[in-house]
């Protein structure tokens, strides 16, 4: 017995040793396989594979770019999710290296405390963050070095994984071409931020500085941004692109300067807005109520595009759920949520986009002048109509009351390409007053160059009938990533903007990468149900409202029939009619409530079916199969 026990212990310890050996072998195998791995990306949009845009850009590299990746892997405080993300970054960098045919060199550093790697990370301006009180700083940043040019991503954000490739490619592009294209920005809104006068009036709160809008903070990283005054009368010809944001009341001289800029081959992007919500949100103390909208009609008329500045697109299918002041939710048809069906999937600017929010957008009509090619980038659904912007401000009830869909898609954003004709066939507009002429500096010539009547070469203009889409509240969410402030897109608004800017002034390849992968995959069936329910509700509401209206009219006509003496005394007919009116009103309200309830029921019923099907159907079938199996077995044994 004792001998067997010893034998067993001997055998067990031998087994344990063998197990340990296998463990070591397997760990070694895992480490070795880490170097020779293959990945298959099953996602539909190949979100985790290098895109064509990146490959094109890598092909164009003339000299090697070194990517230095700093990640504090060894610190125990670095969490597993962050390590997983870091592995993805490494994999992606490796893909770059393989695709670039020697033009990309990847170096990976673990910046442990007080190491050379940490010193380098700091020298590149990467920000390490301490995750716990006593722990070392954790770095997760990237630097691209080409000769003397250094570009960095100080903190890689695990939450915007979809933008990882875009950000890395953009960094490489910047390092490879240090000269930035020039973009001029002219705006009636404080898009570039506000530097407040630091002293307050007695009794007044201290004025606060406002940072630039997130979009424009970002723009400065890739482009040389020049802020143009709203009344600029001369535009530098060396600018590649001019962006207009909510251009209100531009003088003829400014419009002429823009006109000539385009005719000289400059590219223009204009965000004009019939109902600028952010103007009020930014607390403009004295909004110009006589003319709250912006337009470029003088120029666009010459290009064959019409735009009604005081009309807003209301679209039932693109209505957005917004929270009202009283905290109630409201489906507002003037607050457009655009999805794939509203976005041109063929155009490089919009093809990768999926969802945009345009609060209070206008519409463009017209086929464009003969020499221009006009493409719609964003459109409304056929269930849309132009409504007065004043009515739209009153809210969805006011819009829905008289809603008559035009059954035609409306253009919300256009791309015009070709040779443009001048909007000033008579030449430069005269100065508004003699004083203007006198203001001219002595050295300045009155006309820099003879006015052009037609484009010298083909160029592109992008018109967007909304400016609010760029405002932070509608486009981004501010996040804190290891203590750093990072903006994360809420939708594709920013992607749309940058795709267009990259397309017009930068690299078309970059426009191809941004926003790959879909943020949203909504339940289309539920959305369709919601839409049809809304339509039914609208019809019913209108019907019941008109019934109420006719009762009210009857009441009024009874009142008119009475003679003067009896004016303040109710006639029996009137009394009866009032009673009937009240009853009808009650009934109408009850019916409307019922209709609303019935409409919600459609969606809830579908949800109920789906839940039952998924939770009970298969278990019931399994139970049935089990019973049949048991019954057959017992029958056989009997």
């Amino acid at each position: 017995m004792k001998q067997t026990g010893l034998k067993w212990i001997w055998k067990m310890s031998g087994g344990a040793l063998a197990l340990l050996a296998l463990l070591v072998i397997l760990i070694a195998l895992n480490i070795i396989m880490g170097g020779f791995y293959f990945r298959k990306d099953l996602t539909e949009e190949k979100v985790f594979t290098l895109s064509e845009g990146t490959l094109n850009l890598l092909k164009k590299l003339d000299a090697p770019v070194t990517l230095k990746y700093f990640f504090t892997r060894s610190a125990a405080a670095t969490s597993v999710p962050l390590k997983t993300f870091a592995r993805q970054v490494e994999d992606l960098l490796n893909e770059y290296r393989l695709a670039a045919d020697g033009k990309i060199v990847v170096e990976i550093y673990d910046p442990e405390p007080d190491s050379d790697a940490e010193e380098w990370a700091e020298r590149y301006g990467l920000s390490g963050q301490t995750l716990d009180l006593a722990g070392p700083a954790v770095y997760c940043g990237l630097a691209a070095v080409k000769g003397d040019a250094v570009e960095t991503i100080p903190v890689l954000d695990p939450r915007s994984e979809e933008l990882l490739e875009y950000n890395i490619t953009r960094m490489i592009a910047r390092a490879a071409n240090p000269k930035k294209p020039v973009v001029g920005v002219m705006s009636s809104l404080p898009v570039m931020g506000v530097r407040a006068f630091p002293y307050a009036m007695p009794g007044q709160p201290r004025p606060q500085n406002q940072p630039p809008w997130a979009v424009f903070q970002d723009l400065g990283r890739d482009y040389e941004v020049r802020s143009l005054p709203a009344g600029a009368e001369h535009l530098d010809p060396d600018m590649d692109l001019v962006i207009l944001i909510h251009p209100k009341n531009l003088s003829d001289k400014t419009l002429f300067a823009l006109d000539q800029f385009v005719l000289r081959g400059g590219r223009l992007m204009a965000f004009i807005d019939p109902m600028c919500l952010c103007e009020a949100m930014l607390g403009d103390a004295s909004p110009d109520l006589s003319r709250p909208f912006s337009d470029l009609n003088k120029l666009t008329d010459a290009w064959g595009i019409k735009y009604e500045g005081d009309k807003v697109v209301a679209d039932l299918e693109a209505a957005t759920r917004v929270r009202l002041n009283n905290n109630a939710l409201d489906e507002n048809p003037a607050f457009l949520t655009l999805r794939r069906e509203n976005i041109d999937g063929q155009n490089v600017i919009t093809a990768p986009l999926e969802s945009l929010i345009l609060p209070g957008a206008g519409a463009f009509t017209g086929a464009g002048a003969a020499e221009l090619r006009v493409e719609s980038l964003l459109v409304s659904s056929p269930q849309s109509q132009l409504v007065n912007s004043f009515a739209a401000r009153l809210g969805s009830e006011a819009i829905r009351r008289d809603f008559q869909p035009g059954l035609k898609k409306m253009n919300l954003a256009l791309r015009l390409h070709g040779r443009f004709k001048t909007a000033f066939p008579e030449g430069a507009p005269p100065a508004a007053s003699a004083a203007d002429d006198k203001e001219q500096k002595p050295g300045e010539s009155k006309e820099e160059a003879p006015a052009l009547k037609e484009s010298e070469k083909e160029t592109t203009v992008i018109l967007v009938a909304d400016a609010d889409l760029l405002y932070d509240a509608f486009a981004v969410q501010e996040l804190n990533v290891f203590g750093a402030r990072v903006y994360q897109p809420m939708n594709d608004n920013i992607n749309f903007f940058f795709n267009a800017v990259d397309y017009l002034a930068g690299s078309e390849d970059l426009a191809r990468i941004r926003s790959r992968g879909r943020f949203e995959r909504p339940f289309d069936k539920v959305l369709a149900l919601q839409r049809s329910a809304q339509e039914k509700w609208l019809l019913k509401e209108r019907e019941l409202q008109s019934q109420l209206e006719s009762t009210r009219e009857r009441l009024e006509s009874l009142q008119r029939q009475k003679d003067k003496n009896q004016k303040y005394i109710l006639s029996p007919e009137q009394e009866e009619e009032i009673n009937r009116f009240r009853q009808e009103q009650l009934k109408t309200q009850r019916e409307l409530k019922q209709v609303r309830k019935n409409l919600r029921e459609g969606i809830e019923r579908l949800g109920g079916k789906v839940k039952i099907l998924n939770i009970l159907l298969v278990p019931v079938l399994v139970a049935g199969a089990g019973l049949i199996f048991a019954w057959r077995r017992s029958a056989r044994t009997r």
Binding site: K7, E44, G626
Partner: protein
């Protein structure tokens, strides 16, 4: 050739025995109903309105924690308790064939249960337009994860003739491997263990490998990780059964 035939024969015998026991049906029903309940009522899959199966796959590792050790606990413990292990070992099959056969049978059984969640795929395709690649990846990841849990359960089942002890042991090991590397666990370790140990423990964690599959990425490293873990546990089973045989 004999190896394949014998393994197949054992797997078949085991698989049939699963379906002969009412417990298997109860397993299936409980797992499917719980998964449906958690997905629809706790994760509010329908109300979120997104054709993305992540809220569904999220629950798999947690439900497997109960289901898989339960399905594995009888594999050896029962044989040992009832004494059929001797019969099994006198059959003209090798130990490796017996272990592999049993493992494959249990894996197929669990795979079948996973496959029976197909209505949620149909539902999602009906309601919206999901990324099919991510769904396929999610199912592959789920199947591999179940296999790893199963291998752990098989080893603990070989340790003891008491099924409950086997179940609890397997559950604890799987739970540890699931949580390893998660901040609450590493935080506990960080206080006293050296960095290499903390990092080593974290490297064994199931979760990061499972997550890549859910995104729709098939990475050879994740396959190697799961298959190594399965191989290690099966080898452990071999050693335990072999030592018990001679004891």
């Amino acid at each position: 050739m004999d190896f394949v035939r014998n393994t197949k024969a054992i797997a078949k015998r085991e698989l049939v025995s699963y379906f002969e026991s009412p417990v298997a049906y109860v397993f299936m029903i409980v797992f499917l109903m719980l998964l449906g309940f958690l997905t629809f009522f706790v994760s509010r899959f329908y109300e979120i309105g997104q054709a993305d199966l992540r809220p569904f796959f999220f629950w798999h590792p947690w439900l497997f924690l109960i289901l898989v050790p339960a399905a594995a606990m009888r594999l050896w413990a029962e044989e040992r308790r009832s004494g059929t292990i001797e019969t099994l070992l006198t059959l003209p099959v090798s130990m490796t064939e017996a272990i592999l056969g049993k493992f494959l049978a249990a894996w197929i059984f669990i795979g079948l249960i996973i496959a029976l969640t197909f209505p949620i795929v149909l539902t999602t395709v009906y309601l919206g337009d999901p990324d099919k690649g991510a769904i396929i990846g999610g199912y592959i990841g789920s199947f591999l994860l179940a296999g790893t849990y199963l291998a752990v359960g098989m080893m603990t089942s070989a340790f003891t003739r008491n099924q409950v002890i086997s179940f609890v042991l397997a559950l604890m090991i799987c739970l540890f491997l699931l949580l390893a590397g998660w901040p609450p666990v590493t935080d506990l370790l960080v206080k006293w263990a050296p960095d290499w140990l903390v990092n080593g423990v974290a490297a064994f964690s199931f979760m990061p490998h499972y997550e890549a599959f859910q995104k729709g990425i098939l990475d050879s490293r994740d396959f190697v990780y799961y298959l190594s873990a399965i191989a290690l546990m099966l080898f452990g089973t071999y050693i335990v059964v072999e030592s018990r045989k001679s004891a």
